[in-house]
Symmetry: C2
Subunit: 198 residues, 2 copies
Amino acid sequence: MAEALSDSALDQVFRTARSYNGWLDRDVSDEQIRAIYELMKMGPTSANQQPARIVWCKSGKAKQRLAQHAGEKNRHKILTAPVCAIVAMDLEFHEQLPWLFPHTDARSWFAGEDKLAARESQAFRNSTLQGAYLMLAARALGLDCGPMSGFDTAKVNESFFAGTPYQANFISTVGHGDPASIFDRLPRLDFDEANQIL
Amino acid sequence: MAEALSDSALDQVFRTARSYNGWLDRDVSDEQIRAIYELMKMGPTSANQQPARIVWCKSGKAKQRLAQHAGEKNRHKILTAPVCAIVAMDLEFHEQLPWLFPHTDARSWFAGEDKLAARESQAFRNSTLQGAYLMLAARALGLDCGPMSGFDTAKVNESFFAGTPYQANFISTVGHGDPASIFDRLPRLDFDEANQIL
């Protein structure tokens, strides 16, 4: 029977983890990026859809290409981070379902123009779940994140995903966070403000 | 500098964790539900919105009330689980921003009828992130989950959230998973199928 993780592990993934604005001068390797994906891919998605498609902007050129479509404050965060992940979603994820969810005809639940709204909603929810798995996986591997949604989605889609059924959902910098770059933690809702037990 | 968690911790949260269909005969206590929330609440949301509102259906009556609006297979999973969480979203989350994000007038970004679509999109993304934090927090505490989106959202909203700005996003059973209730793990997309490093 599984026990709770150690306090230091819970601290690292949840309690003392922070969204960083600035970064220590330490690279994130391709091996670390792959290790994040190998963990995050195991997280659950509806009917095993796995709609997330991730572009890891690591070169200066790629970060510049992304940063020009972000707000002023986010631009600096992107350009100075070791890597910035664009978490996108495949609006034609259903084409993979014959092998991802093989025991029934799940593709037919989402095929056709009249199912586009359903695909958008499913892809949004499930790629967002996968984006959360990405961030917590990075933390579990000793890295830090800085998620952002303040960017021009249409322009990022045009620059990175033209001619594909992919659309950007949110982005997150990844690296070793600089403690000097963050402020005091913002408040959280208490249990009774956000929960009911019935 | 943070290190990677132990292999057993990474297994528990990501690699060997599964979505369970059936449950061992062990309760989930109110203290465990609170402990899940105390971890999940620390996860990042856009402008600290924290739109997730959670109803933990623990009594037989509450589970029955939820299960009647789920598909046949999901109904059984809900009724037999120790607890089933409804992860909902507050479409008026912006009313909390003056104290949750106090250093600027973030409420004004989302106030007014013409901002409803923006609030819906933000609440959907951020409550989904929080739902992912909930599931990984439960696993980190030694529990298991069984997320589902196969239910009649309008009817669940009517039954649980009438007269409020809350809407159901997805649901997840929580308990100690019964290994006999799951099948072989479904495939995952390889790194190169879902990722690019630029």
